[in-house]
């Protein structure tokens, strides 16, 4: 358990580090949300000063940070100037949608990458292997922005898929089956972009890890015992190759979160992405800090899940470090 508790403490420290870092940048930033008001002749300079005082923007940085930490404890995460409400509730709704998208994409991309990579490693150098390699190289050369816009263009011209949002108008009045159908149609393109951009790297690593294991003596012995091929591959070879893949799992979540931000903006999915871009353009400080921090939280949780997997899958870690 020491391994897991150390990782947990580490995760909390990283979150602290990120929050201090983002706050430091705010102090370096020229101007704030009320700058445009100052240029407006209809608003008295005193009003702007009073507003800044009300939102504590005139206080020194450590005080602001302490107050913000206090509001984090209460689940508020500071105050949004443009929405005129605490940031927390704003973010939770968006976070749910972002999580929905990224979790689906993560499961789907790993669900595809594992069989493809295993198949490829099994036929190393053969036709399926080179076919998959070429397809993945092709996918890798198309960046997520181009892919997302391309699919959107396709959706707009063919009319087969909705071109944005999470649900159609009148979603509530649909029957459960039609609701599911509507949601699937809306999710199809964003998830497709995320999966297709994540896939090449995952397949390549699964293939490399499996190729390293497949010639191990224990597998040949298992084969000699007449264990069926599928069971051999997935029950015996895959766990042996799992260690680097589990680390990659944590990393892939970070990549998917970044990709998800862009895809959300392009396909107007109501997640954190559009909120964050809007907040940056209007200098809504605490929304930006909250959004960045929340994405870090997702990533840290994802990495922690990967560590738990690792603990579960690798007996060497469970047994603790061996004295050298």
């Amino acid at each position: 358990m020491r391994f897991l508790s150390r990782r947990l403490i580490h995760a909390v420290l990283v979150l602290f580090g990120v929050s201090i870092l983002t706050f430091l940048f705010t102090s370096l930033a020229p101007g704030d949300y009320f700058d445009e008001m100052r240029l407006n002749p209809q608003i008295a300079p005193e009003t702007v000063v009073a507003l800044r005082a009300q939102y504590q923007l005139d206080r020194p940085l450590p005080v602001r940070y302490a107050r913000w930490l206090n509001s984090v404890v209460h689940g508020d995460l500071g105050y949004s100037f443009s929405y005129n409400s605490p940031v927390g509730p704003l973010l939770w709704v968006r976070a749910r949608n972002t999580l929905f998208l990224t979790v689906t994409a993560t499961l789907l991309s790993w669900g595809l990458a594992l069989p493809l990579g295993v198949w490829s490693a099994e036929r190393l150098g053969g036709l399926p292997d080179s076919l998959i390699s070429w397809m993945m190289a092709g996918l890798m050369a198309v960046p997520d922005l181009a892919l997302a816009l391309g699919l959107l263009l396709f959706a707009a011209r063919s009319g087969w898929f909705p071109t944005g949002g999470l649900a159609s108008l009148g979603f509530e009045s649909l029957s459960p089956i039609n609701e599911l159908r509507d949601l699937t149609l809306h999710m199809f393109l964003p998830v497709a972009v995320l999966v297709l951009t994540a896939l090449p790297l995952l397949v390549r690593h699964v293939r490399a890890a499996m190729a390293g294991v497949l010639h191990a003596p224990f597998l040949r012995a298992a084969q000699g015992h007449g264990i069926p091929r599928r069971r051999l591959l997935y029950r015996y070879a895959l766990p042996a190759a799992a260690n680097p893949l589990i680390s990659l799992f944590g990393f892939s979540i970070g990549a998917l979160l970044s990709g998800s931000l862009l895809v959300e903006v392009v396909m107007s999915w109501p997640g954190i992405g559009p909120l964050l871009v809007e907040a940056i353009l209007s200098r809504d400080l605490y929304v930006v800090v909250g959004g960045v921090l929340l994405s870090t939280l997702f990533l840290v949780v994802g990495n922690f899940v990967a560590d738990v997997f690792l603990y579960w899958a690798d007996p060497r870690i469970r047994a603790g470090p061996v004295a050298k």
Binding site: A29, A137, G212, L261, V265
Partner: protein
């Protein structure tokens, strides 16, 4: 030797691609900001060899577009006027590579505008804008990667070479940078820099933002190489002879990092070009009228543009050959640096 040949092949491809963009003035028929209000959202013009009477022409020609009565984006080909395409035609002035004043273009036409990839809402030639926009995007990627690698080299070398508490502090500092999803980090950093600035200022601003975000990974890699390099026998011998730190670093330790840096450059440059595109696409990067691959695509956020003018999507495809080239280069570099490790399996 196979590794060498592969490396050379990808280098030639990349040099050709970059040359095309660097000499945008020559390959682009028009100035990227020159507007033609008679031709907004004109579709890509077709080149013909056979005219409506069935006569075969020796050189390719095109029919200039004429706006349909009562519409604002529908055009008809003016079949009365067949304009032939001229190779090496005189056109608008430009400076080749930013230096040589020049008027020669790869192609052009006298009397009517030839827009092979269509025009945007101001009637600006899309092909010219893509070529000139590439200069902005690629330069941002190259400069950003340069900044990242120098930061990574400096910090990683300091951490690895001097060790002790400096190593500890610097490596702890990399952790939040490695922890954040990079696009969130990019946006977070961009959020606190001025928004309303001139195009040139905006360009250098985002180059610095992009360059400052990614230093942690190269720093870690460089640190690893330096850690092992400083314990090599010849380095220890040189230290035993009383060589100063500066000499040891320059002469013996840093050259060891070159293959890591080159591979990282091949990986980072396309990523950073994409970062510029993403920022500009979101309206946080290079603003109009300067063209960049990102802000050329920003138009597509309007639904009407998306449904009616598919050629506005073409700038997104411009980056694909560059991605391919750099991917090939990165894998060739890896094989060249370490032919035994990567050769099998991947």
């Amino acid at each position: 030797m196979i590794e060498r040949r592969k490396l050379a092949k990808w280098l030639v491809v990349l040099v050709a691609l970059h040359g095309l963009i660097a000499c945008a003035g020559f390959f682009a028929p028009y100035d990227p900001v020159e507007q033609d209000r008679q031709l907004p959202y004109a579709r890509p013009m077709k080149l013909h060899l056979i005219d409506t009477q069935g006569r075969v022409h020796m050189r390719p020609f095109f029919y200039p577009l004429r706006m349909r009565e009562g519409s604002f984006d529908q055009y008809d080909e003016d079949i009365a006027r067949a304009m032939s395409l001229k190779l090496f035609a005189e056109g608008p002035r430009y400076r080749l590579l930013g230096l040589l004043p020049c008027r020669l273009h790869l192609f052009g036409a006298a009397g009517a505008r030839i827009c092979l990839l269509g025009t945007d809402g101001y009637g600006r030639d899309q092909l010219s804008r893509i070529l000139y926009g590439g200069q902005v995007s690629l330069l941002a990627g190259l400069l950003g990667a340069g900044i990242t690698l120098s930061l990574g080299l400096g910090i990683g070398a300091a951490a690895g070479y001097f060790g002790g508490w400096r190593d500890e502090v610097l490596m702890r500092l990399t952790e939040p940078f490695l922890a954040l999803p990079w696009l969130y980090m990019l946006l977070g950093l961009r959020a606190f820099l001025p928004l309303a600035v001139s195009p040139l200022e905006a360009f250098f601003l985002i180059v610095m933002v992009i360059g400052a975000v990614g230093w942690a990974r190269p720093a870690r890699l460089v640190r690893g190489v330096v850690l092992s390099a400083k314990e090599r026998d010849f380095v220890r011998a040189a230290r035993g002879f009383g060589a100063p730190h500066r000499y040891l670093l320059w002469r013996h330790v840093l050259p060891e990092t070159s293959s890591v840096l080159l591979t990282q450059a091949a990986i980072l440059i396309p990523q950073y070009v994409l970062a510029e595109m993403t920022l500009s696409f979101l309206g946080l990067g290079v603003p109009e009228p300067l063209a960049s691959w990102g802000n050329l695509l920003a138009n597509l956020q309007q639904y009407s543009v998306l449904t009616s003018y598919w050629w506005m999507y073409l700038p997104a495809l411009a980056i694909v050959p560059f991605f391919l080239g750099y991917l090939g280069l990165a894998s060739a570099l890896q094989e060249w640096a370490d032919p035994f490790k990567v050769g099998r399996g991947t």
